[in-house]
């Protein structure tokens, strides 16, 4: 019973984190159509901004708002001065990918200089909710709640607002969307802002539960890419299903098979799933 409750808490927390990560990545994919490694840089900026505000004595909500603000501003600056120029030069997806790797390297370097390469924690004295065999930290509860809010907002925006329709239109055919009167620049800016918010929420969530260092965001990005691929890149409402599947396989493999086989088991199942899907289509 205790094992079940421990595993359930772990799965629910992982689903919440992966869903948020995946939604953010899907927003970027919808407008950029390349694997934007710069998303990992946004995770870093969000988490470390939170850390800086907290160390400066800000309360948790103030630190979170400050981190969101800085992350969004940095994402917009990046979009305006890097990605817009790349698109103006008709850069290939490969070139854009390489530039985004460079962006991550620069941000990692800046973060290392400002905060050192050591692991940092966002919360020192953690509080816990304990009931029977269930033991959940407040930061896990917070991450799960934020994950639910982000998912519901993203789902609503995607299916009930003109912005959601416009994002899909740009994703499907940018030229057609432009001739139909969609403000491409506005859609891009808003999508980048949404992605930055998701990156910050996920970065803070992971940081609160574990620790952060300049290299921590890369593995999160890889997870986001894989999850996004399971049910189709750019499909924001379905991000949660990918996150559920991935989290369950990952946690189950650690509990049942063993930690050494976590990645091998998870990716074997995912490869089989993708092969099955492509054979069906």
């Amino acid at each position: 019973m205790e094992a079940l409750s421990t595993a359930t808490v772990q799965i629910v927390w992982t689903i919440a984190t992966y869903t948020v990560l995946s939604i953010g990545f899907n927003y970027l994919w919808s407008i950029n159509r390349f694997f934007d490694i710069g998303y990992a840089a946004q995770i870093l900026v969000g988490a470390y901004s939170f850390y800086a505000f907290e160390r400066a004595g800000a309360s948790l909500p103030v630190a979170a708002c400050g981190a969101l603000g800085i992350s969004v501003i940095c994402a917009l600056i990046l979009e305006r001065f890097v990605y817009v120029r790349l698109r103006a030069q008709y850069a290939s997806p490969l070139m854009s990918l390489i530039v985004s790797v460079g962006v991550l390297a620069v941000v990692q370097g800046v973060v290392s200089m400002l905060f050192t390469t050591q692991s940092q924690t966002l919360v020192v004295a953690e509080h816990y909710f304990r009931f029977s065999t269930v033991s959940v930290s407040y930061s896990q509860i917070l991450t799960i709640i934020l994950g639910c809010i982000v998912y519901m907002c993203a789902r609503y925006v995607s299916t009930h607002t003109s912005f959601g329709t416009q994002v899909r239109a740009v994703q499907d055919n940018e030229q057609l969307a432009r001739t139909s009167g969609v403000g491409i620049a506005r859609v891009r800016s808003l999508s980048v802002m949404c992605a930055a918010v998701c990156a910050t929420v996920a970065g803070i969530g992971v940081g609160l539960n574990t620790s952060i260092n300049p290299a921590f965001s890369m593995s999160l990005l890889l997870d986001a890419v894989v999850i996004s691929m399971i049910f189709g890149l750019g499909n924001i409402p379905r991000a949660i299903y990918g996150a559920m599947l991935f989290s369950c396989i990952e946690v189950a493999s650690v509990w049942v098979v063993g930690p050494g086989w976590k990645d091998a088991t998870t990716f074997s199942v995912l490869i089989m799933l993708l092969l099955y899907r492509s054979a069906k289509t």
Binding site: S119, R130, S135, V136, S211, K262
Partner: protein
């Protein structure tokens, strides 16, 4: 010959005579020879100044820099060509090849065991002599295939005695082991198994965790430790791993004695996690004299790796005899492991 020619010749002769007298009368000025007495040494340093091993890498660098500044005062100028491998073995190899291309064959560094393991073929091929302050031969896979590496860390088999004493002091009977899934972790599980035998404790649970998987694995590991009713834990791992481990202990409300390697102390002392109590660390302390000088220079407490790097820099600069300092495997003769409670 005209009278003008005679006059010019006479004046010239006088000038020459006066010049000769002046030159011959000038006192001899001694040549400054102090520059010739300055000894110059060049060495390389391939360190993990960024990445997962940055803590140890920067500590080693501080140790080298302290030795360099002291040696300079004694008339030996040591030029250190620093290379950051970012805790990436591929970059370590590139850095070693770059140093060799610059004609540098003596290098301090290769911060962690797996980095040193990866570098062994290059070290052998390029005939580079390595002084590795933070490693010992038992945590470097393939250490027996080279005799070009000198190790500064105290061999882990010396941990058996203090670990046995600690197990006895906390009256451990059911023991849980958590280690990393590499040569470092393997060396520790061996040492701990021997210590548990000597202390009469039974190992009820062993978990080896792949690098970077601590957050995923720790909830399971701690749950199983609880289920197996372990009454003491021996832990080793990374800095991030120490934080996750201590947080998970707290989350699952487990309060049993823990003995860990240095990162468990760093995580608590640096205020990254709350001190759960009953945590001890096993470390090889720096000598009091070195600690005093290091604190004066950097305002920080040194790790033993800083002192090893300091000592090794002196050995290189002064071309000391290495036979009296290292055994056949390249391990240092000195040092000991000490268990201390973390406060």
């Amino acid at each position: 010959m005209s009278k003008y020619t005679v006059a010019i010749g006479g004046v010239g002769l006088v000038v020459l005579l006066v010049g000769a007298i002046l030159i011959s009368g000038k006192k001899e000025v001694p040549v400054v020879t102090s520059l010739a007495q300055v000894q110059e040494v060049t060495m390389g340093a391939v360190l993990s100044l960024t990445g997962a091993a940055a803590n140890d890498g920067n500590d080693i660098k501080n140790g080298i820099d302290l030795a360099v500044s002291e040696l300079k005062k004694r008339g030996t100028v040591v030029h250190v060509d620093y290379q950051d491998d970012a805790t990436d073995p591929k970059k370590t190899i590139s850095a070693l090849e770059l140093l060799k291309a610059r004609d540098i064959s003596t290098v301090v560094g290769l911060t962690w065991g797996y980095i040193a393991s990866a570098a062994i073929p290059t070290v052998n091929k390029e005939n580079i002599t390595i002084f590795s302050p933070a490693n010992s031969s038992d945590i470097v896979a393939g250490a027996s295939t080279t005799n070009r590496i000198y190790y500064g860390a105290v061999n882990n088999y010396k941990k058996i005695e203090p670990t046995t004493a600690w197990l006895a002091s906390v009256r451990a009977t059911n023991l849980a082991l958590i280690a990393t899934q590499d040569a470092w972790g393997s060396a520790h599980t061996d040492v701990w198994s021997q210590a548990s035998l000597k202390a009469g404790a039974r190992v009820v649970y062993t978990e080896t965790i792949p690098y970077g998987s601590e957050a995923d694995v720790m909830p399971v590991a701690i749950h199983k430790i609880k289920k197996q009713k372990a009454d003491a834990i021996l832990w080793t791992g990374t800095e991030a791993g120490a934080i996750v481990f201590l947080k998970e202990l707290e989350r699952q409300n487990i309060h049993i004695p823990v003995l860990g390697t240095n990162y468990i102390r760093i995580a608590i002392v640096d205020g990254k996690v709350a001190n759960p109590g009953m945590v001890s660390s096993i470390e090889s302390p720096a000598t009091a004299d070195f600690e005093q000088r290091f604190k004066k220079a950097y305002g920080l407490s040194p790790s033993v790796y800083a002192e090893s790097a300091y000592r090794m820099t002196y050995q290189i600069a002064e071309k000391q005899d290495l036979v009296s300092s290292y055994d056949a495997k390249g391990d240092t003769f000195g040092g000991q492991w000490v268990v201390a409670g973390v406060r």
